[in-house]
């Protein structure tokens, strides 16, 4: 019995010759393979961008141009060798036009897919939903859509140091053209918009300038999503006798309203100025319904700038001659390029350095002309165009006639605690 215990207590393993040869073999293979291992790991490590887009649900119609802009930019960036030697790769999340799904997708993209930064969301409601997520998980969100401006009470959907705004806000999209419209048509505004953050705050900001210029609001109506019949609204408009109908409806409601507005013969009596209906919607309306109405954005397919000609050529080569592009798609395009420039400038990729280097960056090849991201409040400085719809348009090429434009409109400082 003593003998057994002694045998068990000491583990006496001798190193055999076989073991030595095996380990030398492994070391050799490892040494030979390691440069290849390290190199391929580095090269195969793309920059992952999470793109959240409304590919289904009520705003499916907007999803295509939204993603197309970003995809085109990524193709161009990768064709030049990528950023810091790494290719950019899209990971797409469908928001289904629902803010709560945006939260899910943002979490999934950041936590599971481990994206480096996010781009997209479309509506202000979606962006406001993503706000807390990008704040908590500390990732940058590049937001493309024209929106209502940054007011402190909507933090962290706005006034969020991680969210960069690549679309214009009302002091750029609306204010520069108000004097012209009021001088031409009159001072009474009837405001009609969808019932959520963007139209409400846009109207609030517009009213500030309206008061300054001596105008008045004779009606303000907010329409819940999915309203098919507009008889009562049309009746209200007739009663109020406005000079200008200031329109911020969105989705299919805008088409429903404008169709019924035109069918009731009201186009002759009132001027309509929309801040929502870009190429996609106007195509859906047809020339009879959309003719002679006014639209204002920072970008139109028909603007004459050498950058735009080049951009549209590449865009159509990739997506077809009939593909539609709009201010949001172009903002996604600009966002991708500006993020790439910022990462190159920083020499590395992490949220803090991306944030610091996006501030103040300029992009000279933007389709609408050179644009700059303002330092203090993450707001982009873009041109502002007022267009009138050609009553006999046949395609996007002859859809809009320029009424007036400003190459660079500096917006009001964001109403947050600055700098962000």
């Amino acid at each position: 019995m003593k003998k057994n215990k002694k045998n068990k207590s000491i583990v006496n393993k001798k190193i055999s010759r076989r073991d030595v040869i095996k380990s030398i073999g492994y070391l050799a293979i490892g040494a030979l393979a390691s440069p290849a291992l390290i190199r391929s790991a580095h090269a195969a490590n793309p920059i992952k961008v999470g793109v959240i887009s409304p590919l289904s649900g009520a705003w499916t119609v907007y999803g295509k141009a939204h993603i197309a802009g970003f995809e085109l930019a990524v193709d161009e960036i990768n064709a030049k060798g990528g950023v810091l030697g790494r290719k950019m790769e899209l990971v797409i999340g469908d928001s289904k036009t629902e803010p709560r799904i945006v939260v899910e997708q943002a979490n999934r993209l950041i936590r599971n897919e481990k994206v480096d930064f996010l781009a997209g969301t479309f509506s202000s409601a979606e962006r406001n939903a993503a706000g807390p997520v990008v704040k908590a998980l500390d990732k940058v969100l590049l937001y493309p859509t024209f929106y209502e401006g940054q007011e402190k009470e909507y933090h962290p959907g706005v006034c969020n140091k991680n969210i960069f705004m690549f679309g214009p806000e009302p002091t750029q999209q609306v204010w520069p053209h108000m004097e012209y419209m009021m001088n031409k048509f009159g001072k009474k505004f009837f405001m009609i918009g969808s019932d959520y953050a963007w139209p409400r705050v846009t109207n609030m900001v517009t009213k500030r300038k309206l008061k300054e210029l001596g105008g008045s609001v004779v009606g303000e109506v907010y329409i819940p999503f999915g309203t098919p019949q507009y008889e009562s609204v049309l009746r209200d408009i007739r009663k109020a006798k406005p000079d200008i109908i200031f329109h911020s409806l969105t989705g299919s409601d805008t088409v429903n309203f404008r169709q019924q507005f035109a069918a009731a013969g009201m186009k002759e009596d009132f001027a309509l100025w929309t801040v929502d209906d870009e190429e996609v919607v106007t195509t859906g309306l047809g020339p009879k319904v959309s003719g002679n109405d006014y639209v204002s954005f920072d970008y139109f397919m028909s603007i004459k700038h050498p950058n735009n000609a080049k951009f549209l050529k590449n865009f159509r080569k990739k997506f077809g001659q009939d593909a539609l592009m709009n201010t949001v798609g172009v903002a996604m395009y600009n966002a991708a390029h500006m993020a790439a420039l910022a990462i190159e400038k920083a020499g590395k990729l992490d949220t803090a350095s991306l944030r610091e280097n996006l501030k103040g960056i300029s992009f000279n090849d933007a389709p609408q002309g050179p644009v700059t991201m303002r330092k203090d409040d993450n707001q982009i400085i873009v041109p502002s165009y007022l267009m009138q719809v050609n009553p006999s348009w046949t395609n996007v090429g002859n859809m809009f006639n320029e009424v007036q434009s400003f190459q660079k409109v500096v917006p009001l400082a964001a109403r947050c605690s600055l700098p962000l």
Binding site: G57, A58, K64, T227, Q229, Q259, A263, G265, T283
Partner: protein, 285 residues
């Protein structure tokens, strides 16, 4: 003057609602299938109409073709799936919702996701007491009245109508008396889908055509059918539409859109509490 304007608006809204809900009144009202795909049928009708219009076929023929198209889809749906679920209405809810999802995605694949546009075949408006009524709108309303009247005649005065009513009242006895139950169910489902297709096509010039357009009328159609009374094809649909459409219009005069649309829900709850079988409160047709 304003009263006349409001009455005209109510008339237009009621008829449009009745038209949109009619297909559901047939499918849900008569044979108890909770058709959550009703919106998809309207959408499909609109897209088919757009497609036929792009082939330069005259508008009213397009409408009929789309009706036939949706009826064919309806027959397929009924034959392969719904047929086995007539005594399990809540399962039909899920099945028809799946139909909606699949149809919408197929529409997106075939037609793309852009807005499509159909111009009203009759342009212009005429003025009645200071209110501009679009000519096309008015014609659609007249057509709706005609449609519902014809359907009612078929339902009450013809052989087919008697068969359908027998089927609804007592399925087993009707079968014993020699009625071909399966065929009658198919005929009704086919007719309901046909109506939904026609409605989608007729409404298309008044609305934006996108893959989800029909769903605007989905919940409203259910309200119309339930408030009007399940099974009362003519009276129920018309009175239901009048109550739903009228309430919305009336409340919109005094308050904003959110309140007026919410008041429709409130009205439906109150009415159903007082009259569980619908406003007519009769059990039979």
């Amino acid at each position: 003057m304003e009263f006349i304007g409001i009455s005209i608006d109510v008339f237009l809204i009621t008829s449009t609602l009745a038209l949109a809900a009619f297909g559901l009144a047939i499918i849900y009202g008569l044979i108890g299938v909770i058709n959550m795909g009703h919106g998809a049928m309207l959408t499909l009708g609109a897209y088919l109409t757009w497609y036929f219009m792009s082939l330069n076929i005259p508008f009213f023929l397009c409408i009929i073709f789309s009706g036939i198209g949706v009826a064919l889809v309806g027959i397929a749906l009924e034959h392969f799936i719904i047929r086995k679920f007539y005594d399990r209405p809540f399962d039909t809810l899920l099945l028809t919702w799946a139909f909606f999802l699949i149809t919408t995605e197929v529409i997106k694949i075939i037609f793309g996701t852009d807005f499509k546009n159909i111009e009203a075949p009759i342009a212009g408006a005429f003025e009645v007491f200071g209110v501009n009524i679009p000519a096309y709108r008015f014609l659609v309303c007249l057509f709706t009245i005609f449609l519902i009247t014809i359907s009612n005649i078929i339902f009450l005065k013809t052989d087919l109508g008697i068969k359908i009513r027998a089927l609804i009242q007592n399925k087993e006895v009707a079968g014993l008396m020699g009625l071909d139950i399966n065929l009658t169910y198919k005929a009704v489902f086919c007719f309901g889908s046909f109506m939904a297709g026609i409605a989608g096509g007729l409404i298309a010039p008044m609305l934006s055509i996108d893959p989800y357009m029909g769903n605007i009328y989905l919940v409203r159609s259910f309200f119309v059918v339930i408030v009007g009374g399940v099974g009362h094809l003519l009276s129920g649909t018309v009175i239901g539409s009048f109550l739903i459409g009228g309430t919305e219009t009336l409340f919109a005069i005094f308050s904003d859109q959110v309140v007026s649309q919410a008041s429709v829900f409130l009205l439906a709850i109150v009415l159903l509490r007082l009259r569980p079988n619908g406003i007519m409160n009769k059990k039979d047709v």
